[in-house]
Symmetry: C2
Subunit: 154 residues, 2 copies
């Protein structure tokens, strides 16, 4: 591993480094609450081989956004999930019409794509944690601008 590799590993916000206890302290909620957000479909931490959760810096920021939505804007978990479901994933991933036709995320606006079971081929083997659809949906920022950008570029 050369110096550039080391630098990139140190600055990679998506690298899973924090155990749930550390993440809990960084975000200011209990470990159980973090597990709850996962069950609700708001966040997908990586897992070690033995199923222990690992959170990245990006995950921490995502969780902080979730807290803002709850505390400052009065959303409940269903509402945050609903807002996240607005991302036009099929445009971002460039799904064909055939792909769209049998993808639950395209057909309904009730669940984010990283939660649905039946997916387009483009997402079959996707690790959602690393997918731009999942990564860029940070509902505490200006979501309308986000949607605009992604529709315009589509």
């Amino acid at each position: 591993m050369n110096a550039t590799d080391i630098q990139s590993r140190l600055t990679d916000k998506t690298r899973p480094v924090f155990a749930i206890g550390v993440a809990s302290e960084l975000v200011g909620v209990s470990v159980h609450t973090l597990r709850m957000y996962e069950t609700a479909g708001l966040i997908i931490p990586q897992r070690t081989k033995s199923k222990h959760r690992l959170y990245s810096q990006a995950d921490i920021e995502r969780l902080q956004c979730i807290r803002v939505m709850i505390e400052d804007r009065g959303f409940n978990l269903a509402g945050i999930k609903g807002l996240m479901s607005m991302a036009p994933c099929w445009e971002i991933k460039g799904c064909s019409e055939a792909d769209q036709a049998h993808c639950d995320a395209f057909k309904s606006s009730f669940e984010p794509c990283w939660v649905v079971k039946t997916k387009a081929t483009a997402c079959q083997d996707e690790i959602c944690n690393e997918c731009p659809v999942y990564r860029d949906v940070t509902t505490c920022h200006n979501m309308k601008s986000y949607l605009q950008e992604h529709w315009k570029n589509a």
Copy 2:
């Protein structure tokens, strides 16, 4: 008034015809709950000269959608309002860049345009109840498709 006019009045879903008590029975919630939804910024019934609320058939359907979001999808009022705020009103209304620059609805994604104070000139004298942005945002339907249509046509 000729036959065509009569027909159009009878079938106009936006004509305000139901007092709050009737609306309350049609939707299946108390009159107070209807007033609460109004305070939350989810619906804007017309008013008589003496400030009595009047609901149209379209209003009833809007309210039924709100109930679906609450009962079936678990949203709270803040979440429904947040979802409604996703409509790209400036695209639908064709606002100029100057208009966008001093319109709160363009700048933030926290409130629907029909709730914000500082509006674009295109909306200064708008009766929001009759505006397509307000009318078409029925969050219980496929909101993603709605956004797609409106972005594509923009």
